[in-house]
Symmetry: C2
């Protein structure tokens, strides 16, 4: 079972979006301000949140085109799942196709993560378009689960 | 294949959220301003958007608890799919579990609709919490597909 999303980043090249997904500064600008680790293939990026950490191993990189992460630490339901980003130019937009794949069950937490990912993708779009995203702890609160 | 989401509406009862999902005024406050039709079981609600209309047959209603719609007109990929809303109280929140179920293929349009539903759920949350949502045509634009 997969979480799917699509956004279009206006007046932006695939390379600009790729940078926001593959550098510590970029990632800290839309997902969580506390981002550490190594962003090369085989490296592990640590995303620190209030409730806990998520560690992503960088499984594949195709510059300007795609990024694949393997979840190596985080919520139980996330372990072993993958996050895939595919980028392409479409007129004046860079289209971002997002997939968080390999969920074992459609648990309530999967519902929450789907909505939360959407708000973080909007944050990514705003970061690249305007220079300011809404990463944790300034992220949009969508429920009692934040 | 299903699109899943979860939001929590703060300081709101399940009945208030149910009203926003089962009255023309409520629906017009978060999804599209141009909402017409009949909201009883067996009725058809017509949601008018710039690019086209979506007609939902009201398949089931359980007051304060759940709503089920069957898509009877709209984009090809939507025909025959269902939208399910489940509501429950959790402390000071009403938790909304959302499912748009029965997609045949994980097409790019499904990615788009998943993200777009998330932004409309945030609009629903804002409507009930503050009195003002962001329905079409004042909705958040997420891409070239709007």
């Amino acid at each position: 079972m997969d979480i799917l999303h699509r956004i279009g980043v206006e007046h932006a090249s695939p390379e600009q979006v790729y940078d926001a997904l593959t550098t510590l500064d970029g990632l800290a600008g839309w997902w969580t301000e506390k981002t550490t680790g190594t962003t090369d293939v085989g490296g592990v990026i640590e995303f620190h949140f209030g409730p806990g950490d998520i560690d992503m191993e960088v499984a594949q990189l195709d510059p300007g085109r795609s990024i694949r992460w393997k979840v190596v630490a985080g919520p139980d339901e996330w372990i072993g799942t993958h996050v895939q980003w595919d980028l392409r130019r479409e007129g004046d937009y860079t289209i971002v196709l997002f997939k968080h794949e390999g969920w074992r069950e459609p648990v309530e937490f999967m519902h929450h993560c789907s909505t939360k990912w959407a708000t973080f993708l909007v944050s990514l779009k705003q970061l690249v378009e305007t220079g300011t995203g809404a990463p944790d702890p300034r992220d949009l609160r969508i429920s009692d689960w934040h």
